[in-house]
């Protein structure tokens, strides 16, 4: 396949960025989207140009590091798929493909397609855990957990923290990310003692980190590679109301 990509190039955090067009020729339809960028980068290096910086690691859709907006959609056109798992056969010969970084106030661009997502870690620090210091645990079978709760907790816990939800949200909100963690821990009996403080503290942390407010636009769940449902945000709001009424 011969395609063109228009890629956001920004040399550094405070530098101005722009879209730059590159030809990519003879790319295999079996190549992944990131492999296409690899091939392009090899050419750029040998031509004496600066290769495109982008985040990636596992390339199997689980580490959450890859982060590209492809043709205006976070992670690209394929549903429930991280951009590392998107393959070129989903495009056609002659296509012109736009590639941009996550864009959100809380995720500043570091270089080209690489952004700073440490704000997500700050939300977790504020309460996205169960306090259980090593060595203090009772036997694993001491507290049974109903299968449906365990399964629902697992579904929420599959969030990979990639930030596509924030990139897609017109407000740059992290509600789906926070809601997934609130649901995961709140569905488990172990998570009950800290349930109220968790939701209050995590919401405060996301405000402090500069994420926008949620207006139920639903773009987040549409792009989520793990299919985290919008209903979890309702659950978070309900937890929050209960928590503040008690405190």
């Amino acid at each position: 396949m011969d395609i063109k990509v228009r890629v956001w190039r920004q040399p550094g955090p405070s530098a101005a960025g722009k879209m730059v067009t590159y030809d990519v020729k003879g790319i295999s339809p079996d190549a992944s989207f990131l492999e296409m960028i690899d091939v392009l980068n090899e050419t750029l290096i040998l031509d004496g140009d600066d290769p495109i910086a982008f985040d990636h690691d596992c390339r199997e859709g689980i580490c959450g590091m890859c982060s590209m907006v492809v043709n205006g959609v976070a992670h690209g056109p394929e549903k429930a798929t991280t951009v590392c798992q998107l393959h070129m056969r989903k495009f056609s010969d002659g296509d012109v493909i736009d590639v941009e970084p996550w864009r959100a106030a809380a995720f500043p661009v570091i270089k080209d397609l690489v952004v700073d997502r440490s704000a997500f870690d700050q939300i977790i620090q504020a309460g996205g855990y169960i306090t259980a210091p090593t060595g203090t645990a009772p036997d694993a079978h001491a507290t049974p957990v109903p299968k449906k709760d365990a399964d629902a907790a697992f579904e929420a816990a599959t969030c990979i923290g990639c930030g596509a939800c924030v990139a897609a949200c017109p407000n740059g909100s992290s509600m789906l990310f926070t809601a997934a963690k609130i649901a995961h821990l709140g569905l488990m009996p172990q998570g009950q003692p800290e349930r109220d403080s968790r939701v209050i503290d995590m919401l405060q942390a996301q405000d402090d980190a500069g994420f926008g407010g949620c207006t139920n636009a639903g773009e987040c769940t549409t792009v989520c590679p793990k299919g985290i449902p919008l209903s979890l945000i309702g659950r978070l709001n309900s937890d929050y109301r209960k928590a503040i009424s008690k405190n």
Binding site: E35, I45, C58
Partner: protein, 649 residues
């Protein structure tokens, strides 16, 4: 050419930390004998932890909970992304919740035997003992393991064991366990007990007065080089599978932290022990950047075959008549069939492809066919069991595995070798501890399924925090400053190297060298090794090293985010490691576990171990980039599980 052109023999190495006496009480006795640090003194002691996977994340969190000051480093943008996250299958623990005869002793026995009698009994027994605490710990953290309708934890049988001892969270066990450790770590970061440094890479170890006292790191965003000091250094930097370029590891996984420590005196043990996983999605072309594992569970219902005649290999699978198919695992291993262990399934696939009977691009693939299972169980049942895997396969290959058989091929998955450590997990450099996949200790020559997660968390939550106190009790050690000669020297090493990479300005990219190294390693130090092939590989790698240092082109500057500069440092270290792996493989003239030596097989082509000559761990000492490594042997004694031959026919 005699072997001694490649290495020299040194003095034996001993594990002085391990207690003797009954294996059941060794860990208790070691913990009791180990010196403790008074809680009030712990905050005066600093520990550096490099890596935030299951081992590093759990160790950093646990040490901080205990009151030590911790500085943690990872190359990813967040500690949550360490490659432990990609582990699919599960985690073993001797809970015996199934009442099926499991016990600490049985898990110990299976692991020593599974490791082909090349692991240390003391370590493996302790691993089996603490396995039960891991599950308790993870459940308390809220890890959403699979459960049964009664609310209790579900288990499955994994990797051919006869008991069900594997705990799992669908196909994402590694992710869920890592998030548990990550959340515990973030809690400690929030409390100010851990200083977290994401997007930082360790590039050198600092040794002062014979003790590991710090590291040199590069901030991967600004390029700034800093020196960081501590009372002890813990490496939890993972395995080195990416020496093969193509592997199931994440792209960033590298050996640099471990290799820099090796260059500074830490022995590197059993580097040739590599685990090759039989069920990965084959390469699709020269653009291929990594390989993806498909869960081993697929072999429970899929049948592996290739065409009987090489002439049929180009035909679509559906046009090859039943009589013209060779279900080679069922034919050669009638009692285990498609469920033979990983090393055997991998090598059998290589053999049929070498005969020219492989399928798919480049003839490097075999079929894994679900047609029989779909006929027998119905499509719905197969979908319920393997739906997510089939989906993943289709996403990557564009082929529908319900309609045409999957194509699979072995790929490098895990490395059992690593820095040599004693029972306390301390390397040969005092104050340098090594945990998780980065050390060599528990899996011998072959790792059983669902044991990697167990070892990572055992080391991080339960072993290291108990043994490191014995070392730290002598601290705090004298203050180290920027001006100390070893610090200046370590920093200069890093700066000079970076300058060298940037100044070569050659005509080949870093990736092109990495790919070439991978091809050499895969061809000659992969599933089957021979004296002739390994000797050739060593020559090729030496030539490649020379070419790398004269022709590599690294664009950009040091003082910026420069991903090719990062890669250049890693590939330079992989090239040196690759040579040592080949030398280790060359010296071990036996087949064992993940190391199959062509010259050491039974008349019917099975692996032949030589316990009389090779019942030891090979710990290598660095002697300069162009010097001969020195071999130190640690003899292995089997008091409980006596060496026997594995047979799967």
């Amino acid at each position: 050419m005699s072997a001694n052109d490649f290495w020299a023999d040194g003095e034996p190495v001993f594990d002085k930390a391990a207690p003797d006496g009954p294996v059941e009480t060794r860990w208790e006795r070691r913990k009791f004998a180990a010196k403790l640090v008074n809680p009030a003194n712990r905050r005066k002691l600093t520990v550096i932890v490099v890596g935030t996977g299951l081992a590093g994340g759990s160790a950093a969190a646990t040490l901080a909970e205990a009151g030590y000051r911790v500085k943690s480093y990872c190359y990813q943008d967040s500690p949550r992304r360490a490659h432990s996250i990609a582990a699919q299958g599960g985690i073993n623990a001797a809970k015996n919740y199934r009442n099926d005869g499991d016990s600490v002793y049985r898990l110990f026995y299976d692991t020593v035997k599974g490791g082909d009698f090349r692991a240390r009994e003391s370590n493996v027994y302790r691993l089996a003992q603490v396995s039960v605490n891991i599950i308790d710990q993870c459940v308390a953290q809220g890890v959403p393991f699979a459960r049964e309708y009664g609310g209790l934890l579900d288990n499955r049988s994994f990797g051919g064991t006869q008991v069900s001892r594997t705990f799992y969270a669908r196909g994402q066990t590694g992710q869920q366990l890592l998030l548990g450790a990550y959340q515990a770590l973030e809690r400690q970061i929030g409390l100010g007990n851990v200083e977290m440094n994401a997007r930082h890479e360790m590039l050198e170890l600092i040794i002062v007065d014979g003790k590991a006292r710090g590291i040199v790191v590069r901030d991967m965003v600004t390029g700034e080089i800093t020196t960081e000091f501590a009372d002890a250094v813990v490496l939890a930097s993972g395995g080195y599978g990416n020496v093969f370029f193509l592997s199931t590891n994440a792209k960033g996984c590298n050996v640099t932290a471990a290799w820099r420590a090796h260059r500074k005196g830490a022995l590197f043990a059993n580097p040739c022990y590599t685990q090759i996983h039989p069920t990965c999605i084959p390469e699709s072309g020269s653009h291929q950047s990594k390989l993806t594992l498909m869960s081993e569970s697929l072999r429970n219902d899929g049948r592996v075959w290739v065409p009987k005649n090489a002439a049929d290999c180009q035909k679509p699978a559906g046009e090859i008549a039943e009589a013209d198919r060779d279900y080679y695992l069922e034919r050669i291993y009638p009692s285990f069939g498609n469920l033979v262990p990983r090393d055997i399934a991998s090598r059998a696939a290589k053999n049929v492809c070498d005969e020219g009977r492989g399928v798919g691009p480049g003839g490097l693939g075999v079929y894994l066919d679900f047609a029989d299972a779909i006929n027998r169980l119905g499509r719905k049942a197969v979908e319920a069991k393997y739906g997510n895997l089939f989906e993943m396969y289709e996403r990557i290959t564009g082929e529908d595995p319900y309609a045409t058989p999957m194509r699979i091929y072995p790929a490098v998955h895990y490395t059992m070798g690593g820095l040599w450590v004693d029972y306390d997990l301390q390397s040969t450099v005092p104050g340098l501890f090594v945990i998780g996949e980065a050390n060599f200790s528990d899996h011998g020559a072959n790792r059983l399924g669902a044991s990697a997660l167990m070892q990572g968390l055992a080391d991080g939550y339960f072993v290291l925090p108990n043994t490191i106190s014995n070392y730290l009790a002598a601290g705090p050690f004298p203050k180290v400053t920027e001006a100390d000669a070893p610090v200046v020297e370590a920093r200069k090493l890093v700066e000079d190297r970076i300058e060298k990479f940037l100044s070569i300005d050659g005509d080949r990219t870093v990736d092109s060298f990495h790919r070439e190294l991978g091809q050499i390693m895969w061809e000659y130090c992969g599933m089957e090794r021979t004296e002739e092939g390994l000797t050739k590989a060593i020559g090729l790698i030496r030539a490649l090293k020379e070419e790398f240092w004269t022709r590599v082109k690294v664009p950009g500057k040091g003082e910026e985010l420069n991903q090719n500069l990062e890669k250049a440092g890693r590939v330079a270290d992989f090239i040196e490691l690759g040579e040592l792996m080949c030398i280790d493989a060359l010296h071990r003239r036996e087949s064992c576990g993940g190391h199959f030596r062509g010259e050491s097989q039974t008349p019917d082509g099975e692996a032949l171990r030589h316990d009389d000559e090779f019942s030891y761990a090979a710990a290598w000492e660095y002697f300069g980039a162009d010097g001969r490594p020195v071999l130190h042997k640690e003899d292995l004694n089997f008091e409980y599980v006596h060496p026997s031959t594995r047979s799967y026919k």
